[in-house]
Symmetry: C2
Subunit: 138 residues, 2 copies
DNA sequence: TATGCACCCTGTAGCAACTACAGGGTCAAG
DNA sequence: CTTGACCCTGTAGTTGCTACAGGGTGCATA
């Protein structure tokens, strides 16, 4: 399959596919006589892995690690586990942050309708979270 | 107060404060004789607003809009509301995605201990989400 | 056969939002 | 009077793409 098809199949832009190749995440495929990239099912598999991992918030570096581990199928699973565990912690933190944010946005949106900005709670909501213990002189 | 104090008070790096100034988010402060930036409480207020909004995932553009609206306190609240609503949708999507991810990570971490990578579920878990309706010939 | 048009190629430059120097100046303490 | 922590400007790097520019390929259609 050609790059455009692969891109479509994985909801990726063509440029991004080439970017992943240059970044060493996706192996360079065979080329046609016309120098077109020619992908097989393994590439599709791998790119969908990459996309999904990226969607799930793994950095390209983390994806690289994961792929390396996936390729070396004899190795014990501990390393994968470590990456995933580290990531889980991060994900849980993000969820907590975003949940707090969601509540504030809801509150803001709920309290904010049809009022002039002067009465808009968003400014208050977002404004006054200053670090206290910093010894500021003004 | 000097830039280092302001930075500390808002958990921001000095370079980032200067970056916000150059980006038009934080007004240029007065300077001392030594050409040091000299900030007042209004700057502290505004920077804490910026930091918090950024923390909550607003883009610099959105923050700029928010600040403009906050400055022009006569305007109706609708525009603020629109920005916040748009952002809420995004946040809810992110939370949903991350929650799904958290569940998968937990499952993976639970099932993956002490096995070789060949039996590691993380690869399966991340792999086979391919768009179906794309008319691929292989 | 020609001539579009969609697709492919490489390479480089740009985006957000910082972050990190390099190469200097300032100032208070010891 | 020097040492060290701070400040200044400016530029270049980072991540993860995205968007050209300037060209080549392949297939249908007039």
């Amino acid at each position: 399959m050609k790059i455009g098809e692969l891109a479509k199949a994985t909801a990726t832009k063509v440029e991004t596919v080439r970017f992943y190749e240059k970044a060493g995440l996706l192996p360079s495929p065979a080329r046609t006589d016309a120098n077109y990239r020619s992908y097989g099912p393994a590439h599709l598999q791998r790119l969908s892995f990459i996309r999904r991992a990226r969607d799930l918030g793994f950095s390209l570096d983390a994806v690289r690690d994961l792929l390396a581990l996936a390729d070396d199928r004899a190795k014990p699973c501990g390393a994968v586990d470590a990456i995933a565990s580290g990531h889980l912690t991060e994900v849980e933190r993000k969820i907590a942050d975003l949940s707090a944010m969601r509540e504030e946005l809801r509150r803001v949106i709920g309290s904010c309708r049809h009022n002039p900005v002067a009465d808009c709670k968003i400014i208050e909501t977002l404004g006054p979270r200053v670090a206290v213990n910093a010894g500021i002189s003004a």
